[in-house]
C-alpha cells in the first residue's frame, strides 16, 4: 500500500508534536517534577511512535518507543527526571528532527540509527530493574486479549470509567455504538487503515474504548478485526458511511448499546483507565483544534534540495468563507454596473457612481481578506528559538535567557518563510559575540545570566523585529582597527567616518570581528547575508549599540508585498508613487526658508533639520522652464529616525496600488525605483523607494 498520500499529514502532525515536545522539555528542565508536563511528553512520544510506525519509519519509531518507555517509568515514579536526562531528551529531539528533515526532503527517514542515544535511554531503564516486568506483563495481557475475544463474538469488557462515560452519553441523549471492523485480508498496512477509521470516527464523536488497545492497533498487534465503543450524536448510517469510506475495509458490524454494561473487574484497571483518559484527552484536543481552526502551518525545511512535499498554508475555514462572500458581492456589483449601463442617461451617472463606490468597498475588503489568508503569526518562526538558545547556552557555556514578545504579530507567508534564518543568525550573534562570559558579567556588575530579547511589533505599514542583548555591545574601535587591518578602509577614511558608518562595515561581505572562529558564528558569512536577505524582502536593518551595555538589531519589514497605499506625485510630467507608510507629513515650504549646511539644502522643520532632496535632479527629469512659485511642496519621508524632504511639483492624491516588478533587464541605479504600478488609465507609474533616498 502506498502511504505517500498521508505523508503531508504525517509531516504536519510530526512537526506539531515535536514542537510540543520541545516546549514541554524546556519546562521540564526548570520543573522536573511537573506531572502534567511529564504526561504531555509521554503523550507526544506515544503519538509520534504510532505515526512513525504507521508510515513505516522504523528507526524513528524505535527511538520514540524508547522515549516513551523512559517516560512511562518517570510517570510511574520509578525514575526521577535529572538534568542529564533532559539533555539526552533534547538529543532525541534533535535526532527526531533530523529524521523529519530527511523525510521532508527524500520521503525516507535515512539510515542513522542513533544507537548512542538509544543506549543512553536504555541506561535509564536498566537503572530500574522492576519496571521491565510490569510493562512486559501489560504487553502480554494485551496480546492475549484479542484471541479471547475472537471466540466469544464481540463481548466487550468495560471498566468502571468506560461505563461512566457511556452513562454520561445516555444522559446527553447521544448514541453509543459497539462497532467491529474487519479489515480486508489483502490489506498490507492494517494499522494505517485502522488509523484512518479512528480518524474518521473522531470527526463524528468519541472513541471511548477500543479492543485491542489503541496502542496495540497502532503497533499492528491485531488480527484482521478490531472493536471500538463509540459515542456520537450522528446516526448509525452516518457512522457506517464514514467507516466504509476508508478503503480495504471488508465488513463493519455495528450494534447500538442501549443498556449500561456491567463493570468488569480488571487486574490493572487503574492503568487501563489512565490510558483511556488519555485517548479522550487526545480526541478532545483534535476536536478543539478543528473548531478554532488554529493556524499552524508547517515551517519550511531549512535544508537545501527540493522538498518532496509542497508548501502549503492551512487556512481557517472562516477566512475562506469571508473570501467567498466577498466574491459573491463582487458579482453583484458587476451586475449592478451592467444594469446601470442599461438605464437612462439621467439615472446612468448616478447609478454608475453608486456601483463604483460599492465595487471599491468590495475590492478593498477582498484585498484585505486575501492578505489575511497569506498572513501568519511570527510565532511559527520564533517558537523554535527557545530551544536553540538553550543549546547555544550549553555549547558556549554562557548563561542566557531568551524573552520573546509580540510573537502574534502577523507577516506575509513569503516573509515568514525567509525571515527564520536571518533571525536565527542574529540570535547566534548576540549569544556568541554579544553576551560576555559569566565572570566578565559579574565584574561589570551585570546579572550573570545574559538576556536576549526578541520583540516584534507593527509600525504603520511595517513590521519591526528587534533582537536586543545586554551584552558587550559593538566595539567600534575594534571594528575600525579590523577594517583598516583588512584593508576595507584606509586610516584616513577611518578618521572621518562616523560611528554609524563604521557599524555599517559589519554588514559588508566577509567581515567578522570575532577573534576566534567558533562553531556558532564568526565565519564571516554573517551579517551581510542577513542584510541581503532582509533587503530582498523589501526591508532594512539597522543597529544601535553601546559599548558594555549591549546592542539592538532592528529589522524593518513591509507588512504586505503586493498591494500598498501610496501617494501619487507629479514631477515635471512624470508620475511617481511613494509608499504612504514611509511618509510622515507633507509641507509647504517657502523657497526662502531653505538653508544651506555644508552646501546641501536643508530646512528647519519644527526644530529638526531635514535635508532636502530635489527629485527632478535625482531622477534626471527635464523641467520645462523656470517655475516662478514661491512655495515648494515637500513630502517628508522617514526611515527609522532619519528624515528627508522630497521636493515634488504637484500632489495627485492617495491611491491603492498594485506593485509590479520592473523585471531583471533594467538596472536602475541605486535601486531608486522599487517597482512599477499600472494606473487607472493604463499608464505605468514608477514607485520610488523612499528607503534608498533617506
Amino acid at each position: 500500500m502506498d502511504v505517500s498520500q498521508y505523508l503531508e499529514i504525517f509531516i504536519d502532525e510530526t512537526k506539531e508534536h515535536l514542537q510540543d515536545l520541545s516546549d514541554q522539555l524546556m519546562i521540564l528542565e526548570t520543573e522536573p517534577e511537573n506531572a502534567d508536563v511529564i504526561n504531555e511528553i509521554f503523550r507526544a512520544a506515544h503519538s509520534l511512535k504510532g505515526m512513525a510506525g504507521t508510515m513505516g519509519y522504523k528507526r524513528m519509531q524505535h527511538l520514540t518507543h524508547m522515549m516513551e518507555n523512559v517516560f512511562s517509568e518517570v510517570r510511574n515514579g520509578n525514575i526521577k527526571v535529572t538534568i542529564h536526562m533532559v539533555d539526552i531528551l533534547f538529543q532525541c529531539l534533535d535526532a527526531l528532527e533530523a529524521y523529519l528533515d530527511e523525510i521532508v526532503n527524500n520521503a525516507d527517514e535515512g539510515t542513522n540509527d542513533n544507537e548512542p542515544i538509544i543506549k543512553l535511554l536504555n541506561g535509564f531503564l536498566e537503572g530500574e530493574s522492576e519496571n521491565d516486568s510490569t510493562s512486559n506483563k501489560k504487553a502480554e495481557k494485551e496480546e492475549n486479549k484479542p484471541q479471547g475475544d475472537n471466540s466469544s463474538g464481540y463481548q466487550v469488557k468495560f471498566s468502571e470509567f468506560e461505563v461512566n462515560a457511556i452513562g454520561e452519553a445516555f444522559r446527553k441523549n447521544m448514541n453509543v455504538f459497539s462497532i467491529r471492523v474487519f479489515v480486508d485480508e489483502s490489506c498490507i498496512l492494517k494499522a494505517a487503515r485502522a488509523f484512518l477509521v479512528f480518524k474518521s470516527l473522531e470527526e463524528l464523536g468519541e472513541v471511548i474504548k477500543s479492543d485491542p488497545s489503541v496502542q496495540d492497533i497502532e503497533d499492528e498487534k491485531f488480527d484482521l478485526d478490531f472493536s471500538v465503543v463509540f459515542v456520537t450524536e450522528a446516526t448509525k448510517e452516518k457512522v457506517l458511511n464514514a467507516i466504509n469510506s476508508v478503503s480495504e475495509i471488508r465488513r463493519v458490524d455495528m450494534d447500538a448499546i442501549t443498556e449500561l454494561p456491567k463493570v468488569e473487574k480488571h487486574e490493572d484497571k487503574r492503568e487501563e483507565r489512565h490510558e483511556e483518559k488519555e485517548e479522550i484527552a487526545k480526541a478532545e484536543n483534535t476536536s478543539v483544534k478543528e473548531n478554532t481552526g488554529k493556524q499552524t502551518a508547517p515551517v519550511k525545511a531549512v535544508s537545501g534540495g527540493k522538498p518532496v512535499v509542497n508548501r502549503s498554508v492551512r487556512v481557517d475555514i472562516e477566512k475562506l468563507d469571508v473570501l467567498m462572500n466577498l466574491v459573491s458581492e463582487l458579482i453583484i456589483a458587476k451586475n449592478g454596473l451592467v444594469s446601470a449601463s442599461n438605464s437612462d442617461d439621467r439615472e446612468k451617472a448616478n447609478g454608475f457612481n453608486e456601483q463604483i463606490e460599492y465595487l471599491e468597498r468590495v475590492t478593498t475588503n477582498l484585498h484585505e481578506s486575501v492578505m489575511k489568508v497569506r498572513m501568519m503569526p511570527i510565532e511559527t518562526v520564533t517558537q523554535k528559538f527557545p530551544k536553540m538558545v538553550r543549546d547555544l547556552s550549553k555549547k558556549l557555556d554562557k548563561k542566557m535567557k531568551l524573552t520573546i514578545s509580540g510573537e502574534d504579530t502577523e507577516l506575509d507567508r513569503t516573509v515568514i518563510d525567509e525571515i527564520g534564518d536571518p533571525l536565527m543568525h542574529l540570535l547566534r550573534n548576540s549569544a556568541d559575540h554579544g553576551l560576555e562570559s559569566e565572570e566578565i558579567r559579574r565584574e561589570r556588575g551585570k546579572d550573570p545570566v545574559g538576556s536576549i530579547i526578541l520583540n516584534a511589533y507593527q509600525d504603520g505599514n511595517n513590521v519591526v523585529i528587534e533582537v536586543k542583548d545586554d551584552g558587550n555591545g559593538i566595539d567600534i574601535e575594534g571594528v575600525k582597527n579590523k577594517a583598516i587591518e583588512k584593508g576595507t578602509i584606509t586610516e584616513e577614511q577611518a578618521e572621518t567616518m562616523s560611528d554609524k558608518e563604521i557599524i555599517d562595515l559589519l554588514f559588508r561581505p566577509s567581515f567578522s570581528t570575532a577573534k576566534v572562529v567558533s562553531d556558532v558564528s564568526g565565519r564571516g558569512v554573517g551579517l551581510d547575508v542577513v542584510k541581503t536577505k532582509i533587503e530582498a524582502l523589501g526591508g532594512d536593518i539597522e543597529v544601535k549599540t553601546k559599548l558594555a551595555e549591549g546592542s539592538c538589531f532592528i529589522i524593518r519589514l513591509p507588512l504586505t508585498l503586493a498591494i500598498i497605499q501610496a501617494l501619487m506625485v507629479e514631477i515635471g510630467d512624470e508620475k511617481y508613487a511613494i509608499s504612504l507608510g514611509s511618509i510622515q507629513t507633507i509641507e509647504d515650504v517657502l523657497k526662502t526658508d531653505i538653508k544651506y549646511v555644508q552646501s546641501k539644502e536643508v530646512i528647519n522643520l519644527r526644530g529638526s533639520v531635514i535635508p532636502i532632496i530635489r527629485l527632478d535632479e535625482i531622477l534626471d527629469i527635464e523641467k520645462s522652464g523656470e517655475d516662478e512659485e514661491e512655495n515648494l511642496t515637500v513630502v517628508i519621508i522617514k526611515k527609522g529616525e532619519k528624515q528627508a524632504g522630497l521636493v515634488v511639483d504637484r500632489l495627485i492624491g492617495q491611491q491603492e496600488i498594485v506593485i509590479k516588478s520592473l523585471g531583471s533587464y533594467i538596472n536602475n541605479g541605486n535601486k531608486l525605483i522599487s517597482g512599477a504600478t499600472i494606473l487607472g488609465n493604463g499608464d505605468v507609474a514608477l514607485i520610488l523607494d523612499a528607503n534608498t533616498l533617506v
Binding site: E574, I618, L619, D620, I621, K660, S661, L662, G663, S664, Y665, I666, N667, N668, G669, N670, L672, I673, A676, I678, G682, D683, V684, A685, L686
Partner: protein, 149 residues
C-alpha cells in the same frame, strides 16, 4: 541528392525595418506585436532602454534597437511597432522597430552564417538571409538579451 532531401528545413522570420536595414526575427521568439504606446521612462536605466510599457497588465521593458546599435534616435510614426520577444527562460522584452513588413520562410540553404564581427552591431546579428533579391540581417535574439543581463 540525399543531402538536399534532408536540408529542406525552413524557418519563419518576421521582417522589420530599422533605419535603412532590414532585420529578421525568428518567429519562435515573438510573443506579440503592438502599436507604439506611451513608454514610461525609468530614471538611471541603461540608455538603450526607453522605459516600460503596460502590456495587458504586465510591466514590460522596451529597448531601442537603434540606440543599442548606435544609430540615430527613433522617430516614432504610425508605422512604429513594439515587438514583444519572449525568449525561453527569460522575461518578456519589447524592441522598437520602424515598420513590420512581412513574414518570410527562409530555407536553411538561403541562410548564411556570419562570423561575429568587430563592430558592436554585428554581435547581435548571427546570419544573413536571402529572400529573393533582398538581404535580411537575422537578429541574434539571445545575444541581444544576454547582453542586457
Amino acid at each position: 541528392m540525399e543531402d538536399n532531401m534532408i536540408e529542406v528545413q525552413s524557418t519563419q522570420y518576421i521582417v522589420v525595418d530599422v533605419g535603412i536595414e532590414q532585420y529578421g526575427i525568428d518567429i519562435k521568439y515573438v510573443d506579440n506585436i503592438v502599436r507604439m504606446q506611451k513608454i514610461t521612462r525609468v530614471p538611471k536605466a541603461q540608455n538603450y532602454f526607453m522605459g516600460v510599457i503596460n502590456l495587458r497588465g504586465e510591466i514590460v521593458p522596451v529597448m531601442s534597437i537603434r540606440r543599442k546599435f548606435g544609430l540615430e534616435d527613433d522617430v516614432f510614426t504610425d508605422k512604429t511597432r513594439i515587438i514583444i520577444l519572449k525568449p525561453e527562460q527569460h522575461e518578456a522584452i519589447g524592441i522598437i522597430v520602424d515598420n513590420v513588413k512581412e513574414v518570410v520562410s527562409l530555407e536553411s540553404s538561403n541562410i548564411e552564417k556570419i562570423q561575429s564581427g568587430r563592430d558592436e552591431k554585428s554581435r547581435y546579428i548571427n546570419a544573413v538571409g536571402k529572400n529573393q533579391d533582398n538581404l535580411i540581417s537575422l537578429l541574434n535574439v539571445n545575444g541581444v538579451i544576454d547582453d542586457v543581463n
